[in-house]
């Protein structure tokens, strides 16, 4: 199917998210839509998929101008979308998710699902509840469902966020297969490498407009230039000799996540940057929460500076930044200033604008947060929320635990966060972070722990490992004795 977008505008109240976007996607091609956060990619794709109405402009499918009343109209015309926040039903089973809204024309949905899953090489138990699947498996299910509905154009919004490298390979193979069958694929991403590997043609969006287009071969610097105007520099690495052990886990098992954490023994040293790798939910999240004293281990001990870690024992010395910034880190509805008030050792009874106002202003300046002390935190962009969380940290933590600190951030914001983190590292703070991106871990960490199914299967200096070895460990293929 040939899709043409002509001068699409979309306004949300005062916000002008799409400002006259025109682009064209050929049949049987994989087309990339690239841009940093807030460039208007998701909005544009939701318009194409019929989920949002456009303010003005025209959508032409195979030359015919169309208008939709809802996503069902778009699906009927052969356009299906994999949304960034998955639009599925976590409490229902795989089969129920698959069959809901599907016209199977008399075919048994269970057989149809098994058939399609086999064709794409996906392994999806039909009676498992979807919330027990990984993000990658949930995507696979959505793809099968859309293929069963016979979509001729598949839109994927940031599909590589939160899935493992192995799952990414499976996904990309499936997308190439769809393109070979003559379907069009539109891949929306802020990650250059995804687009470079997969796409025939790329449209780069910046601030709601088309910044430019590029065709194979897609050169990194050309794309970065279109995305940002200039090419951002990667952050400096922290070069610190590791000091004495500060946090020790001794035979720790704890519940949580998909697999929990099983029998983990490790010592974190001062000034060290430790990257936690593994498929989402393999134990990294539980590890961080146990180390932060938020989850009590079922077995084993956690020692901070040789004393058992209690709820208060390490107050202000061990800090944890969760991945769900608005859900666990910040308080939606409160302003930046109010967050600084909450941090005061003693909060006065009467709060006025002066309470913690100077602190807030200093924090905003120090981390160049785009916002004012009166801005509600949910109005900040993801990168600015992460910087605010950093600004709220205690002065000199001994251990800083970060769960996927650059989740959903574009390259520039991610580098900004890392530049700030290096400052902590230089001051002797031990950084422990998890990330779904091997590249990020290899770039920032000087020691890497790999988790598989709740167990730590590899503990290696970053300088003495290879992406290949890490990928094998993540997939649970083992490195000799650890298998």
């Amino acid at each position: 199917m040939h899709i043409q977008l002509v001068d699409i505008h979309k306004r949300f109240g005062a916000v002008h998210a799409n400002r006259g976007i025109s682009l064209s996607v050929g049949a049987g091609t994989i087309h990339g839509v690239l841009g940093e956060n807030g460039a208007g990619k998701s909005t544009l794709m939701k318009i194409v998929a019929g989920f949002l109405p456009k303010t003005s402009g025209e959508i032409r499918l195979d030359g015919e101008a169309v208008s939709y009343r809802g996503p069902a109209d778009a699906t009927r015309r052969g356009i299906g979308m994999l949304y960034q926040d998955p639009l599925d039903f976590p409490a229902l089973t795989v089969l129920e998710n698959f069959r809901f809204g599907l016209e199977t024309a008399g075919r048994d949905p269970r057989a149809l699902l098994a058939d399609l899953a086999g064709r794409f090489g996906f392994d999806l138990p039909p009676d498992r509840v979807v919330e027990r699947l990984t993000v990658g498996e949930r995507q696979q299910l959505e793809i099968l469902r859309l293929v069963a509905r016979n979509v001729r154009t598949l839109i994927l919004d940031e599909p590589t966020t939160g899935i493992s490298a192995t799952q990414k390979d499976v996904l990309f193979a499936a997308l190439r297969r769809l393109a070979d069958e003559g379907r069009s694929v539109i891949l929306v991403s802020h990650k250059l490498e995804d687009v470079q590997v997969l796409c025939d043609r790329v449209t780069v969006l910046r601030e709601g407009r088309v910044a430019g287009e590029a065709e194979r071969p897609l050169r990194t610097n050309d794309l970065l230039g279109l995305m940002f105007g200039t090419v951002p520099h990667p952050p400096p690495r922290c070069e610190n000799p590791a000091g004495t052990p500060v946090l020790r886990l001794d035979g720790v098992s704890a519940p949580g996540g998909r697999a929990g954490l099983r029998d983990c023994t490790v010592a974190i040293r001062r000034g060290e940057v430790v990257g936690l790798a593994g498929v989402e939910g393999s134990g990294q999240g539980v590890f961080l929460r146990v180390a932060a004293g938020m989850v009590r281990p079922r077995r084993g001990r956690v020692l901070f500076e040789d004393a058992p870690l209690g709820r208060r024992a390490a107050a202000g010395r061990v800090a944890f930044l969760p991945t769900d910034r608005l859900g666990e880190g910040l308080v939606p509805g409160l302003t930046v200033r109010e967050h600084f008030v909450l941090r005061l050792p003693r909060v006065p009874f009467l709060l006025d604008r002066a309470t913690a106002g100077p602190d807030a202003r200093a924090g905003i300046d120090r981390l160049s947060i785009r916002g004012t002390p009166g801005t509600p935190v949910e109005a900040l962009s993801g990168g600015n929320q992460q910087r605010l969380l950093l600004a709220l940290l205690p002065e000199r933590p001994a251990v800083l635990l970060l769960e996927n600190p650059t989740r959903g951030l574009d390259l520039e914001s991610a580098h900004g966060v890392w530049r700030e983190l290096q400052r902590y590292c230089d001051a002797g703070t031990a950084l422990v972070f998890s990330s779904p991106e091997l590249d990020e871990i290899l770039l920032a960490a000087d020691r890497i722990l790999v988790f598989h199914n709740g167990r730590m299967v590899l503990d290696t200096p970053a300088s003495r490992t290879t992406p290949d070895e890490l990928a094998r460990a993540i997939a649970g293929l083992g490195t000799g004795a650890a298998a």
Partner: protein, 326 residues
């Protein structure tokens, strides 16, 4: 207590639970679609009054039930339209409707107070009614009680084994996802509110035409709506478990009478009030299954693990949160 008394007692439990089952299963259907109809307590009274009045003036019990169902459906439709289409708070609208319907029922029903009227006649099931034990407990009732028993498997079947039920549960979980698949979540929620409201109205008529025939102030159904709302949570939004709760509540009410005879020193009010705190205690026990400590304890015991997981339930994820498109 001998066998004779036990079957009589159980028969009373089955009969007394009928209206609560109508109301609680009705609310289960509504809440499964993600809508909270808080007006139950008032709707039941208004349904009871309207059902009795219609039956009295037409001489037909069936007309009474029809009128009561219509009243329940209209009240529920108000909650759905204001909550889902007009974006008002379902809790606020439902609560105001509770009070309005209750006062309206007493005001409009004033002339009917203590007037004798028609009631549902008993209909023993031929053959089955003479079975020893079971016959008296299950098969010597009226159509209303039989319908309440049948409602539970029917509701379960519709919710869990049909295309409609899948749509209802899907909308209650994630309305935006249902919308993306071509199902209008607002229409599903309105339909479920009306179906649930019909059942709530029937619960009212089951009181005034069968369980406690007649109309008066107090009518005897006061507070039942709140119990039904609590039972929906207690039963984890599952019709069968909700029904178990309804029978348990009915049992607590019925055993008060023989207990009172056995323990004359205890004031009678204790037995009248006891079911309510006991319900709260049960809800707390159910809630315990979600705690980490219980999970840990049950982890090593297969039977406890199964029990904990059977009791555990979570609310429809979008309960009270209708569709919004960012």
């Amino acid at each position: 207590m001998n066998g004779m008394e036990l079957t009589t007692l159980l028969a009373a439990v089955v009969a007394g639970a009928a209206p609560v089952i109508f109301a609680a299963v009705g609310e289960t259907v509504t809440e499964r679609a993600g809508l909270i109809n808080l007006s139950l307590d008032g709707s039941i009274l208004l349904g009871a009054m309207a059902g009795f009045a219609a039956a009295l003036y037409t001489g037909s019990v069936a007309a009474g039930f029809a009128a009561a169902a219509a009243v329940g459906a209209v009240v529920a439709a108000v909650v759905a339209v204001t909550g889902v289409y007009l974006g008002q708070s379902q809790v606020a609208v439902g609560f105001v409707l509770t009070l309005t319907c209750r006062d309206l029922a007493y005001f409009l029903g004033n002339p009917l107070s203590r007037v004798p009227g028609p009631q549902v006649s008993p209909l023993p099931v031929p053959g089955l009614a003479d079975l020893p034990g079971v016959g008296e407990v299950l098969f010597r009732h009226n159509l209303v009680v039989y319908a309440s028993i049948a409602l539970v498997p029917v509701a379960w079947l519709l919710l869990y084994r049909t295309r409609w039920g899948l749509a209802v549960r899907a909308v209650g979980e994630h309305p935006a996802a249902a919308y993306a698949r071509g199902v209008d979540p607002r229409r599903v929620q309105l339909a479920c509110a009306v179906v649930g409201g019909l059942l709530v109205g029937l619960a009212g008529a089951a009181f005034s035409l069968a369980v406690k025939p007649g109309w008066g102030r107090p009518q005897g159904a006061e507070g039942m709506g709140w119990i039904a709302l609590a039972l929906v949570i207690f039963g984890g939004w599952h019709p069968a478990k909700v029904a178990v709760g309804a029978y348990l509540f009915s049992l607590l009410q019925v055993v008060g009478i023989p207990l009172q005879a056995l323990l004359p020193s205890v004031p009678t009010q204790v037995f009248q009030v006891a079911p309510f705190p006991l319900m709260i205690f049960t809800l707390w026990l159910i809630h315990l299954t979600r705690s980490e400590a219980v999970e840990r304890w049950a982890g090593d015991r297969a039977w406890a693990w199964r029990l904990v997981h059977a009791l555990r339930a979570s609310a429809p994820r979008a309960l009270g949160k209708p569709l919004s498109r960012e």
